[in-house]
């Protein structure tokens, strides 16, 4: 997902979906079928060397075994699937927790982000300066550091902080209740940190919404709610799908929020992978965990996209 200076936002869906099969007016005349190697080669070679090859190395590493009698951190090539068995058997609860936190953060980000995206894209339409201003405000949190913001949350949710005081005064939190070092704080931090990734694709989709369709719904005596459900929401669905993916994937795999805002009981799978790499120095297990994480995300995302796709048709 990206934001251009013009306020144009594109989702990763744009990259994933190749253009229409027919002749594309933007395609310049040229010998069809011959790849523009000069333009492609540098970027593709970079991705091959520093994305594809590392993933392959990671896979090979995930099947390695320790060198018999060797030092910590010494491994030899093998075809051992034991690391995968260990990754699943020992850490399935942490995997489940990570995806649960990721899901919660995604749902909350959608609930907070959709109305905001709607106001920017539809209510402020025709007022470009206001639109620009609000878009900049959405992206502005990126400029202070992600870690600094997460630490600010730790202060806000601290025992002596304002949120705990207010909640205790309202009897929503017991007098000895706290928010730091709880799963609530972790999910709040995840929701916050990935919120712009939810807002921007939805804004892009709603920006293309033809308001005449909404008027048509009202002309046909549909209530505003029905119009939203039958017209606006389905048309914004590509943005919602892109936004939820861009929130869910990094949120599930994050470990900074769990480290700074949580406790040992809120450990996420990113914490485990990080610890296996740097503290335990068990590279094969860490690699197997990374692959299980990737595989789980691919399965979840594929199931989700398929479901969202069929809902789109209904």
């Amino acid at each position: 997902m990206a934001v251009a200076a013009t306020g144009h936002v594109t989702g990763p869906g744009d990259a994933a979906t190749p253009g229409p099969a027919g002749p594309d007016p933007a395609v310049a005349a040229g010998p069809a079928g011959r790849a523009p190697y000069g333009l492609l080669a540098p970027g593709l070679l970079w991705l091959a060397a520093f994305f594809v090859a590392p993933i392959a190395v990671l896979f090979v590493t995930s099947l390695m075994v320790p060198v018999p009698g060797g030092d910590i951190g010494q491994f030899q090539p093998a075809l051992d699937v034991g690391n995968y068995a260990q990754a699943v058997v020992e850490y399935w609860q942490i995997f489940l927790r990570s995806f649960w936190y990721g899901l919660l953060a995604t749902v909350f980000a959608l609930l907070v982000g959709y109305p905001l995206a709607y106001v920017i894209a539809v209510r402020a339409r025709g007022r470009p300066t206001l639109q620009q201003f609000m878009l900049v405000l959405v992206i502005a949190p990126f400029f202070t550091s992600f870690i600094v913001r997460t630490l600010a949350w730790r202060q806000i949710l601290a025992d002596e902080g304002p949120v705990v005081g207010v909640l205790q005064a309202l009897y929503l939190l017991p007098p000895d209740g706290r928010l730091t070092a709880t799963s609530i704080a972790v999910v709040a931090g995840l929701t916050y940190n990935f919120l712009p990734f939810m807002i921007l694709p939805i804004y892009a989709a709603l920006g293309r919404l033809d308001l005449r369709l909404v008027e048509a719904g009202q002309d046909l005596y549909a209530s505003p709610f029905t119009t939203f459900l039958r017209v606006t929401w389905p048309l914004s669905l590509p943005g919602v799908v892109a936004g939820t993916l861009l929130t869910f994937i990094p949120a599930s795999a994050d470990y900074v929020n769990a480290t700074l805002l949580g406790n040992p009981g809120t450990r996420m799978i990113g914490n485990v992978i990080d610890a296996q790499f740097f503290n335990v120095v068990d590279y094969p297990l860490a690699s197997a965990l990374s692959f299980v994480l990737m595989a789980a995300i691919v399965v979840l995302v594929a199931a989700y996209v398929r479901r969202a796709g069929t809902e789109d048709l209904v």
Partner: protein, 263 residues
């Protein structure tokens, strides 16, 4: 006909305002606590001071870390923007056999969790015996910035009319001249936006950097390590300053483009 006042008329703006409050509460906290008179454990409000702003480099290593982050960000942005713009041009302007595979290859890094990207690169560097440091961080940042550059510039290329280049060719411009005199100026806003995004992503990255930096400190890494002992107020000063500088740059860019359009 009198327009009925509907629930959505006031509820939606209210929700939007609340969402903005949610986005800005931690930033307001960060800025407020940059003026806190508590040089060590900056957690509880002690009193107002300007001391932290007078010398943000007082905390050991923080300004070196910021300088490293700026260097990494500029270098990674430069390479990612050049490579990514070339890829975007190729993907929009040409049809070739492996086009959808290329699209997929560019999309997958964006959908790969940062821990996996960081871990895989680290494994490769360890296997090849590459020492971790500045170079490995820049290499890693280019990988994740590249895809975002391609997506941003592609959107811009798609809006260009190829007839303009043909017109340039009709006026006897060579392909190189047509590119630099016609295509490039039209693409510039998209390229600038991609570069800005790329720099922001690089400057703010922690997870991938942490895997591939060895002993090198970037600003986010410095903050993360310092937070264990209690974050000094200098981190708040730098976070606040970055925020203000970025907003000013956006505002200046906006004014410049408005003036160009008016003039």
């Amino acid at each position: 006909m009198r327009r009925r006042v509907r629930l959505g008329d006031w509820l939606l703006p209210l929700l939007a305002v609340l969402a903005f409050v949610y986005l800005f509460v931690p930033i307001a906290y960060t800025i407020a606590f940059s003026f806190n008179d508590a040089p060590r454990a900056n957690r509880v409000w002690q009193g107002f001071t300007l001391d932290n702003w007078r010398d943000p480099c007082a905390a050991r290593g923080v300004c070196e870390a910021v300088a490293t982050s700026l260097q990494v960000g500029l270098l990674a942005t430069l390479v990612a923007t050049v490579l990514g713009t070339a890829l975007a041009l190729a993907l929009v302007r040409h049809r070739f056999r492996f086009r959808s595979t290329t699209n997929l290859l560019i999309f997958v890094p964006m959908a790969t969790p940062e821990v996996v990207l960081g871990a895989s690169l680290l494994t490769q560097f360890l296997n090849l015996g590459v020492p971790l440091g500045f170079q490995t961080v820049v290499i890693a940042h280019i990988v994740f910035c590249l895809s975002f550059v391609v997506v941003t510039v592609k959107a811009r290329v798609a809006t260009l009319d190829p007839a303009l280049e043909q017109a340039a060719a009709d006026l006897y411009a060579g392909p190189v001249q047509a590119f630099w005199r016609v295509t490039f100026p039209l693409l510039l806003p998209g390229i600038m936006a991609a570069a800005l995004l790329s720099f922001a992503l690089s400057f703010d990255d922690f997870i991938i950097t942490n895997f591939n930096s060895g002993n090198l400190d970037t600003f986010p890494k410095w903050v993360y390590v310092a937070a264990v002992r209690g974050l000094p107020a200098e981190a708040n000063v730098i976070g606040s300053a970055m925020f203000v500088i970025a907003l000013l740059l956006v505002a200046i860019g906006r004014l410049a483009s408005l003036r160009r359009r008016a003039g």
